[in-house]
Symmetry: C2
Subunit: 183 residues, 2 copies
Amino acid sequence: MVKSPRLTKEDWLAAGFRALAADGPGALRAEALARTLKTTKGSFYWHFQDLPDYKAQMLALWRTKVATEVIDAVAQEPNAAAQLQRLLARAAEAPPDAFGGRAIEPAVRAWALTDSDVSAALSEVDAIRVAFVAKLLAGVGLTDPDLPQAIYAAYLGLDDLTAKGSGDIATGLPALTRLLLRP
Amino acid sequence: MVKSPRLTKEDWLAAGFRALAADGPGALRAEALARTLKTTKGSFYWHFQDLPDYKAQMLALWRTKVATEVIDAVAQEPNAAAQLQRLLARAAEAPPDAFGGRAIEPAVRAWALTDSDVSAALSEVDAIRVAFVAKLLAGVGLTDPDLPQAIYAAYLGLDDLTAKGSGDIATGLPALTRLLLRP
DNA sequence: ATGATTCCATACGGTAGCGTATGTTATTGG
DNA sequence: CCAATAACATACGCTACCGTATGGAATCAT
């Protein structure tokens, strides 16, 4: 299954996410991306107006992907307790390295440090996730208003700890799970 | 107290940390830093051999600063329980914006994504801190081997949540404290 | 003071990337 | 098969930065 030599907009965006995950936001350059795609920036500037336009489309794509990603993944579980366990177990897994997976989240967070649009989108995503965790916790009787943020912060921090490629997968969240679900 | 127009190596390094915190690792450029210091890169290349040398010195300085920073801050407390509470309370505070403070930690972590030396130093620092938290937790009878990593991850994640300058200080760790210290 | 040394300014060549302009090939509709 | 258009290649001027080289100013030792 050889790919067509013609590239789509989505090919460029996917390459952007790979570059972002591998080398950070500084790797989002037209000519560098063109080299990895074995083409030239003539293609880039046909599909996109300029770099800001390209980055905005990357951000929009990421934004829609992550909006419901985690929520959908646990929605199949029957009740809040099971959903919560599923969520925390998921957090302890090795992140999938595909685009949109958790592997690029630290890179997006790094990106947000220098781009206010990314920062705003990230704040939205964080708020959505914290609210979701709060709902699950309330379902098992934990109503401390600060707890959802703490749980979500642990989720983010474990991403940080594993993103450095130290090899070993962080195993902290099961410990939190035990702590939370004890009666 | 007007500063001397002559700059020291430390002035350059401090400017680097300000730039890193404000604009990310991509801001560590000789000429850009020179502009903020109202001088020229002639000074930079007198104090430092080149950019890699400069970055290595920044990293070494940060590395020594953070090695004992948090540990010293809580060492004055008499026992493990008090030290633990002090640590978690500290984590919930607004980070000091001075150099070496927690404000630059997300930036250093972003920096680590594209620099393996930074990544290695960060792994060391993480390991030291996790070990310290483990000691404190053991002092209050919590010996779950995964728990220190979870607590530290929450600490990191709260930095992420506040680093975006959303204004409101994260208040999640007190919730974790209550959860941990209940009998 | 003055000579030596430290510190900084300026000019230079080289590289890499941006965005545009324009030419060239590939694909499609009729 | 052949326009028409979509997709890409190439060349260009521009800017920003790197690292060096060298001259000049500030500071210090004696």
